[in-house]
């Protein structure tokens, strides 16, 4: 018997807005003006906050954090497409998407300055899960959230993020496989920023694309230019439509670049060249988005300046609020170990407070 082909797969690729701002007219989703203006504003806000956080960190006013500069075009369009009731499941490089979904700037600042309070949202119905520092686990949570949405008969969708490095973790594979088996309404977005700390994409997996990993779990996949917010918009919108209709999960690989250090504790000169970084800056998402807005007569230098001033005020205000001394109970962690008090924990809480009163504290 001759050998036959058992199955055949392809991985589509989508780019709509090129780095120079030229748009593919046939593919252009022709988003309404106000949507585009909002999109650009969110991207600019995320960039402004990221840059400010780096300054604060360098001045010792903020702890270690992972800058998101250059990746604004991934999580922001995805978050803008989400509705009330949808679940946002981030890793740790989705600053923009979190802001879009309603996380206050001050929460981000608190979180990266060592306060659990930064995980508390103004409203728990925002359905933004806390940052997933442990890589991979969040995809399994996302599969469960998506299962629950379908179980309850809703058309809610879960949108989950993971890095290129994260695709090597078991959690990524187990979560996608579950979602595939369950036909769960899950949109998983890989932010392929080419690096996992010092490990380049090519050393992370021998797969030609990251998108193709979803094929193994029986779901539609697509690779998009992750610095192109229109391509991300279209890919996520299609995936969400399928999910809401009950047609199951999608895996999207967004090809982008981590323009800054891994975290503020990292030194990228150890493992990559400045040339590579320079080249990547030429493809970053904000410049092309602005060019596109200008081509649609929605933007000019005056508006740019006004926006930057306005966002500076917004960030200033958030930082001022963040830096206003708060009366935070030192024994707060004792209150949240269980839902009800336990005598052993209470006893230790009294001991802790007595040690604090001892004058010198425990530090």
């Amino acid at each position: 018997m001759p050998r036959k082909q058992a199955a055949k797969f392809t991985v589509p690729y989508l780019q709509i807005l090129a780095p120079d701002g030229k748009v593919d007219a046939k593919l252009d989703p022709k988003l309404p003006d106000d949507t585009l203006l909002k999109l650009y504003r969110w991207m600019r806000l995320a960039r402004a906050l990221d840059e400010r956080m780096l300054k604060l960190q360098r001045q010792g006013r903020l702890g270690t954090f992972p800058p998101c500069t250059g990746q604004e075009a991934v999580s922001i369009p995805a978050a803008m497409l989400m509705r009330d009731g949808d679940w946002f499941v981030g890793a740790f490089r989705e600053l923009g998407g979190r802001l879009v979904r309603g996380e206050p700037l001050t929460a981000t600042l608190d979180y990266y300055n060592g306060w659990e309070e930064g995980n508390i949202l103004p409203d728990k119905n925002l359905r933004i899960l806390p940052t997933s520092v442990v890589i991979g686990c969040q995809i399994e949570h996302a599969a469960g959230l998506a299962y629950a949405s379908r179980f309850k008969g809703t058309d809610e969708v879960t949108v989950a993020f993971i890095g290129d490095g994260g695709t090597s973790e078991g959690g990524f594979h187990e979560g996608l496989n579950m979602a595939g088996v369950w036909k769960a309404p899950l949109v998983t977005i890989i932010q392929n920023n080419q690096w996992a700390i010092s490990i380049p994409r090519g050393a992370q997996t021998a797969s030609e694309t990251l998108a193709q990993k979803g094929i193994a779990y029986g779901m539609p996949v697509i690779q998009v230019d992750g610095n192109d917010p229109l391509a991300v918009w279209v890919a996520v919108a299609e995936a969400m439509d399928r999910a809401r209709k009950g047609d199951g999960p999608t895996l999207i690989e967004a090809v982008t670049y981590r323009l800054m250090m891994h975290t503020t504790a990292d030194d990228p000169t150890k493992y990559r060249t400045e040339d590579e970084e320079k080249e990547a800056w030429a493809r970053e998402p904000l410049v092309r988005t602005r060019a596109y807005l200008e081509s649609r007569d929605l933007w000019d230098e005056a508006r740019e300046k006004a926006l930057l001033d306005e966002l500076k005020d917004q960030v200033d205000q958030a930082v001022a609020e963040f830096e206003t001394p708060k009366d935070r109970a030192p024994d707060e962690p004792f209150r949240h170990v269980y839902g009800t008090p336990h005598p052993v924990i209470e006893e230790q809480r009294r001991e802790f407070l007595a040690n604090l009163k001892g004058g010198e504290g425990r530090g």
Partner: protein, 326 residues
């Protein structure tokens, strides 16, 4: 003799072991080109090449599981978990295979492998970067759990761990990585795994600790000795599992009083085991209850509150005084 910090001492031990035995290899996330996020493996790639210094994909279970295979085949992998907080991704491999292959095959298959991981608080890091969970590994018979407290014993114990025919979990107190330097001898030096070290002899009270907590413990002992003229015997455990019962029992039988200092949450931690050993082996010598100065049974707080949660020299000193006064 060179004055090294703990990171340099770990680096030295790895380089020495790799020079001496070409089956020793280092593997983990960012260990090769980057030299490790703490620089523990700096320079090893240049000296020993990519076949022996392996930048792995981001997969703890894959790292430890494949290290098991390598060790079964006669290599000696030293696998790095970037932070102990991410090591639980490999707990299935650890419990089901790392700790059991010797027993399962009555010694026919053995695992001469080391799993290194930085642990502990005090460095203002993000969530999962500050816990002290040595007991999770200590509770699983079949692997040894070693925790150095300074550059010199880190180097000597890591060499011993690599020599050891059984798997060793080598937990490095990251708070001590660059906190101080010590003379580390040029010549190869090892310390026996499984043996606690009497850092200082004394007659009135035994102070037991390990890892990063040795520093507040030593400071507290010095304060109380000065203020009270007490004579304190200090034990650095160095190995958490299997525990050196003899050293603890001998010391407490002599002094009759004991304070244990532990960074980890109190319940079910090593200090509980130490107290039980004293109960079993030195009870009739006790003149005061064994005192435990520990972390609390709460989820490790983020760094905004971390400082007040770590046992300090002042609190240890108070505990010593209280125990002396019974």
């Amino acid at each position: 003799m060179a004055k090294l910090n703990m990171i340099q001492a770990v680096n030295l031990a790895l380089a020495e072991a790799m020079t001496q035995d070409e089956t020793v290899l280092v593997m983990g996330q960012d260990v090769a080109v980057d030299g490790g996020v703490f620089r523990a493996t700096e320079g090893l790639l240049d000296r020993f090449g990519p076949e022996r210094v392996i930048d792995t994909p981001l997969a703890e279970s894959g790292i430890v599981g494949s290290a098991v295979g390598m060790a079964l085949a006669g290599l000696k992998p030293v696998a790095e978990m970037q932070f102990s907080g991410f090591s639980y991704m490999m707990m299935g491999q650890f419990e089901a295979h790392v700790t059991r292959l010797r027993s399962r095959t009555h010694g026919q298959l053995t695992l001469p492998m080391v799993i290194r991981m930085p642990y502990g608080g005090g460095v203002r890091a993000l969530e999962h970067h500050s816990e002290s969970r040595e007991v999770l590994y200590a509770h699983q018979p079949g692997a040894r759990v070693v925790i150095p407290s300074g550059p010199r014993n880190a180097r000597a114990l890591l060499l011993a761990a690599i020599d050891d025919p059984d798997p060793v979990v080598f937990m490095e107190p990251k708070h001590s990585y660059r906190a101080f330097r010590e003379e580390v001898p040029e010549e190869r030096e090892t310390l026996p795994i499984g043996k606690a070290r009497v850092v200082q002899e004394g007659t009135d009270l035994t102070l037991v600790s390990w890892g990063a907590m040795m520093r507040p413990a030593l400071k507290a002992a010095a304060t109380v000795e000065k203020e009270r003229g007490a004579s304190i015997e200090i034990i650095d455990l160095l190995t958490i599992a299997p525990l050196d019962h003899a050293a603890i029992a001998a010391s407490v039988s002599k002094t009759g009083r004991c304070v244990v200092v532990q960074e980890a949450p109190r319940s079910y931690g090593p200090s509980s085991e130490i107290t039980a050993v004293i109960n079993d082996k030195a009870f009739w010598h006790l003149e005061a209850p064994v005192k435990r100065i520990t972390g609390y049974d709460v989820v490790t707080p983020y760094f905004g509150r971390e400082k007040t949660y770590l046992p300090s020299a002042e609190v240890v000193a108070r505990g010593i005084v209280e125990t002396l006064d019974v």
